[in-house]
């Protein structure tokens, strides 16, 4: 297959020197280095022993409470809350990393609020949120008091009176809802002053250096890369700024969309300066970001909602993906297989993240990735508003609606938004189904990479040997999978509570995710800066990508709804009843 200069390429014979000269390997080493630093910092210098002690104490309380009552008591929940408060990113290292990787903050009317917040502004925000918090706290205290009385009444009957037990369960459930509302209101009063400008400068220099070294190892000019990198970084910062505005966020227009848009506006009006182009290392940024993303792809998550969740997210999704790809090839006759599979993956799996992983795995062109992400963003914005409204209008049960939205809306944030609009239970089910689906990107990237290496890039009538498959296979996918499998095993060994406190709330949220976010934003800025509107328009010719997306998504909507109904209401109604 003729390789395009825009495609993500790593071809030819394998040599030992590939390990330190080729982009795929360098992305793996850079990703591994960031992961290793985070793991060592949180596991060796973090509060692991203290967490273990607190988790053990909470577990003891929960065991005693479970033995005492036939339902989850107030003390059981309080012990659970204590475990939930354990957060490794609150350690010194976590605070240091978080400070130096900050993205511009939220703003409504003044863009400067994204960079600088004074002590007076923080105080004013706290004062604004205080009445609501006080009200929520009072409601929480009242609900707790009622729950305590009901539990004591049930305890007075040695938990043998079913009516009293049911009353206690209902009151405890009310208290948990009030507790959640109080917690949400509390988040609005913890405002702190900040100035992100020095940390953004420091971060820019750091990223320029680490990727600059990689560029040097690839035999290119490091100084030329660093010189242009500042422009790419500036576009990414501008994208974060525009994407963190309240209304922009509401419609799903985040930093990634703005990075592509701003980059393209600059490239197609002012013209991207030639000295910036060597810094548009789209593939290098993406591949490194994907290796880091591996730490967030935990296979243990797929059992979070039991068998119904696996069927909705892991059975429907591959069926839709494969059918959409075949439909694109056989019916629509899409000229580009890579565009076909990237759209199929981003529509069926999880939007932007799946598009990035699949595009890199099958070496799609930048324009194809841009087009797939653009389609996903537009339909995500529409679906997140229309679906909850439709579900409410037809009186569909919340859990069914939640499962349907979780399995079909592309972006996780949009799923949470649509779920919250429908109700708490819809949010819980929708967000969890989406999380299970998110985990699928590892398998999708691997299968697509393998299929492309074995079938698509094969010359007609020629069999492909193992060595040739190895030569063609995008190696960074192996790094991505290795990280994903290692973290899944580590998470399993640590157990749910320690895994959440140390891995999820430490290594990932306080380390790898922060860098991954920046690397993807940089890659989107670089894509925009090196994309020509005319080139992009060619890929949209005949509207085939749009037709593919609409047909695939329609099929997805029908199949997911049927599967969700069968699983949650016919095969496992007891799970639905518990939710």
């Amino acid at each position: 297959m003729a390789q395009d200069k825009n495609a993500i390429v790593d071809h030819g014979q394998s040599k030992w020197s590939d390990l330190w000269k080729k982009e795929d390997y360098l992305a793996i080493w850079l990703g591994f280095a960031i992961i290793a630093v985070s793991v060592i910092a949180y596991f060796n210098f973090g509060p692991k022993a203290e967490f273990a002690e607190k988790i053990e104490a909470a577990n003891q309380i929960q065991m005693a409470e479970s033995a005492k009552a036939p339902f989850k008591t107030i003390n059981w929940y309080k012990a659970q809350d204590d475990k939930g408060k354990l957060n490794a990113s609150g350690s010194a290292f976590g605070k240091f990393v978080s400070h130096w990787t900050k993205t511009p903050g939220s703003w409504k009317t003044n863009p400067m609020d994204a960079f600088v917040r004074t002590a007076e502004q923080a105080k004013a925000l706290d004062e604004k949120g205080m009445p609501k918090y006080e009200k929520a706290k009072a409601a929480n205290d009242a609900a707790l008091s009622l729950a305590l009385s009901a539990e004591q009444a049930a305890a007075g009957a040695s938990f043998k009176d079913n009516a009293l037990n049911d009353e206690a369960v209902a009151k405890i459930s009310d208290w948990r809802s009030a507790h959640k509302a109080s917690g949400d209101a509390k988040k609005k009063i913890g405002n702190k002053p900040y100035n992100y400008i020095p940390s953004l400068i420091g971060l820019c220099i750091f990223i320029a250096l680490i990727f600059g070294i990689g560029v040097k190892l690839m035999g290119e000019n490091m100084l030329a890369f660093i010189k242009g990198f500042f422009i790419v970084f500036m576009v990414a910062v501008l994208a974060y700024l525009l994407g963190s505005q309240a209304i922009s966020k509401q419609y799903g227009l985040g930093a990634e969309a703005w990075a592509i848009l701003m980059g393209m506006i600059i490239a197609n009006t002012l013209g991207t300066p030639k000295w910036v182009l060597p810094s548009c290392k789209v593939e290098f940024f993406i591949k490194t970001g994907l290796v880091l993303l591996g730490a967030e792809v935990l296979f243990n998550k797929i059992i979070a909602i039991g068998v119904p969740g696996i069927f909705v997210a892991w059975v429907v999704t591959p069926i839709v993906l494969v059918c959409t790809y075949i439909f694109g090839q056989k019916v629509l006759k899409m000229p580009s297989r890579t565009l076909n599979i990237v759209i199929a993956a981003d529509m069926s799996v999880c939007g932007t993240s799946a598009a990035i992983a699949t595009a890199a795995a099958c070496r799609a062109k930048k324009e194809e990735l841009t087009l797939a992400i653009g389609l996903s963003l537009v339909f995500t914005s529409i679906m997140m508003i229309v679906m909850p409204a439709f579900i409410k209008a037809v009186g569909m049960p919340e859990i069914l609606g939640g499962a349907w939205m979780g399995g079909t809306i592309d972006a996780t944030g949009a799923v949470a938004a649509a779920g919250a609009f429908l109700g708490d239970k819809a949010l819980y089910v929708a967000a969890t189904i989406k999380m299970i689906q998110n985990v699928m990107i590892g398998v999708t990237a691997f299968c697509v990479a393998l299929y492309w290496a074995m079938k698509v890039e094969r010359e007609a009538g020629r069999s492909v040997g193992a060595m040739e498959i190895w030569n063609r296979f995008p190696k960074f996918v192996l790094g991505f999978l290795a990280v994903s499998i290692s973290f899944s095993i580590l998470d399993g060994i640590l157990g749910k509570d320690m895994g959440t406190a140390l891995l999820d709330h430490g290594v990932v949220r306080g380390g790898t995710r922060l860098m991954r976010d920046w690397f993807f934003a940089l890659s989107f800025a670089a894509i925009g800066l090196s994309t020509n509107f005319r080139e992009l328009a060619k890929y949209f010719k005949g509207g085939k990508p749009l037709i593919l997306y609409v047909c695939g998504q329609s099929f997805n909507l029908i199949l997911t709804l049927i599967m969700a109904y069968i699983m949650f209401y016919m095969v496992f109604p007891e799970i639905t009843a518990k939710i």
Binding site: D184, I247, S248, G351, D410, I575
Partner: protein, 77 residues
Amino acid sequence: MIEKSLSDRITRFAIVFGLTLILVYGLLPWLTGSFDILNRMSLALDENGINPSRYYYTDVEQVIESEQYLRIVLDGK
């Protein structure tokens, strides 16, 4: 191809960028204010602190809350 002058390019950039900003920060807020459903959604998002533009589950705080809720209600009694 004839290279356009710097002033031409700056003008084009200002127009396109300006139109984009008007579309996003003018039209979209107008839509939100004009339609009840969009307005309610905007308030719900603000209240719950949800950012619909985030694409992966680790970027969305509500996912871990949902997972924990389901773990509790589906676990045994």
